[in-house]
Symmetry: C2
Subunit: 256 residues, 2 copies
């Protein structure tokens, strides 16, 4: 359980990331620059945004190469969208969950259900209006590589979360969630843990990785070019969890 105090430090000075860049090395360099003020600790979690992971891994598409299908052209015309982006989303999708009111919600190959399948046009670099990022192919593996590089550089085994901003039903606004984890359990199952009154809690599972991703986002600022942060003191359960642990199987899904 938490110790009542959590700090979030955005890492500064990470340069614009380009395809083929060694992102783990860039993050290690940023942590090294911060190390005097901010020596890495065992109770840190390193949160890295999807955008820089996707860019480093080359998970990008140039929309000028995309020929949209007629349904995408029609939907885009009606709702003022880019038909080529819609086409990329549809090609990536495992299934279409909703496609109405200007919104395209799909299930990604990873099993995430989100607007535009995580395909994103903003913040992808200067003079790049036609470039979109896809989600990393295996965000857990991306997190594994970053964690290994940090451990090799500092001798501290820090859990890593790859984060992205998702909308949600019923409420306006996006929040950050985890799309990949390494070195921690993404959920904390408090079922069976006595609550403060000594009664046993029946059904509390906390989305710890998503909560840590959201806390990191508060320090990023959306337009400030900070793609990574340390979250200190959140005390997630260590272990070799995978993001698939968070995903609700279809048979439990009340909003298919």
């Amino acid at each position: 359980m938490s110790g009542g105090y959590v700090e979030v430090f955005a890492l500064e000075g990470i340069p614009e990331v380009r395809p083929g860049d060694d992102l783990p090395a860039l993050l290690v360099a940023a942590l090294r620059r911060a190390a005097d003020a901010l020596p890495l600790r065992e109770d840190d979690v390193l949160v890295v945004t999807q955008k820089v992971v996707s860019k480093a891994e080359g998970a990008i598409v140039d929309l000028t190469t995309i020929e949209p299908r007629p349904e995408a052209v029609e939907f885009a015309r009606r709702w003022d969208r880019d038909p080529r982006q819609l086409e990329v989303v549809l090609r990536q999708a495992r299934r279409v969950v909703r496609w109405q009111n200007g919104v395209l919600i799909t299930e990604t190959p990873h099993g995430f259900i989100c607007a535009n399948g995580g395909v994103d046009a903003s913040n992808v670099g200067p003079a790049s209006g036609s470039i979109v990022t896809l989600l990393p192919v295996d965000p857990d593996a991306s997190a594994d590589l970053i964690r290994a590089a940090v451990r090799a550089a500092f001798g501290v085994d820090v859990p890593v979360i790859v984060s992205d901003s998702f909308g949600r039903p019923w409420r306006w606004g996006i929040m950050d969630v985890a799309i990949g984890v390494s070195g921690m359990q993404p959920l904390d199952d408090l079922r069976g843990t006595p609550d403060a009154d000594g009664r046993v809690m029946k059904s509390t599972v906390r989305a710890t990785a998503d909560e840590i991703a959201t806390a990191a986002e508060l320090a990023f600022g959306k337009t400030a070019g900070r793609p990574a942060a340390l979250v200190r003191g959140a005390q997630p359960t260590r272990g070799e969890g995978r993001i698939a642990d968070v995903l609700m199987p279809r048979e439990f899904d009340l909003f298919p």
Copy 2:
């Protein structure tokens, strides 16, 4: 925008809250005890959990007084639930959104869509197995009262969020969201704000109040008896926002 550094301090020593207690005064006392180490600042947000707000306001029901309807009895038997709690949820509900797989999701009178209509059995005090909390009648007003008491005591106008833990579709685990706000806008509309590359972002609205509620939760710990926290440095947009600003109107709801 954020300055890249956010701290979350759980407030310690708040006693068990009972109906009729002056919660704003209890929070002021906790802030006063913390004041040497932690003088209140303009960039703080005070987050208070629904549970203590509801208890102080007497928004509780003794299940021994509740006669469940036959549908609640049947559903409870099938899914190992308390039929009296289901009855309370149904009486409070503006509408039933889903009632299957052991899950009852309703729309509350406030317009929140959540499991069990926010009616909650855990952490409601010793020897109180039959007591459940309802949501506060007007959580914005609850936040207003706390904010006014803090301002009167310290001369600092700190935004206040009343938080609760909600599940969400497609992902296991609960996260905290805001159910009432005072002194801030619950959303930050970045539409029209240039991103780091100078391009104009088309559709980014951040759920700032929900993000701050979640950050606070990381410091609460679920069973540690900490019902309030200061979140410092998140820099929400000040103003007289209301939680209704967050709620998506029915015509935009793709998951009715």
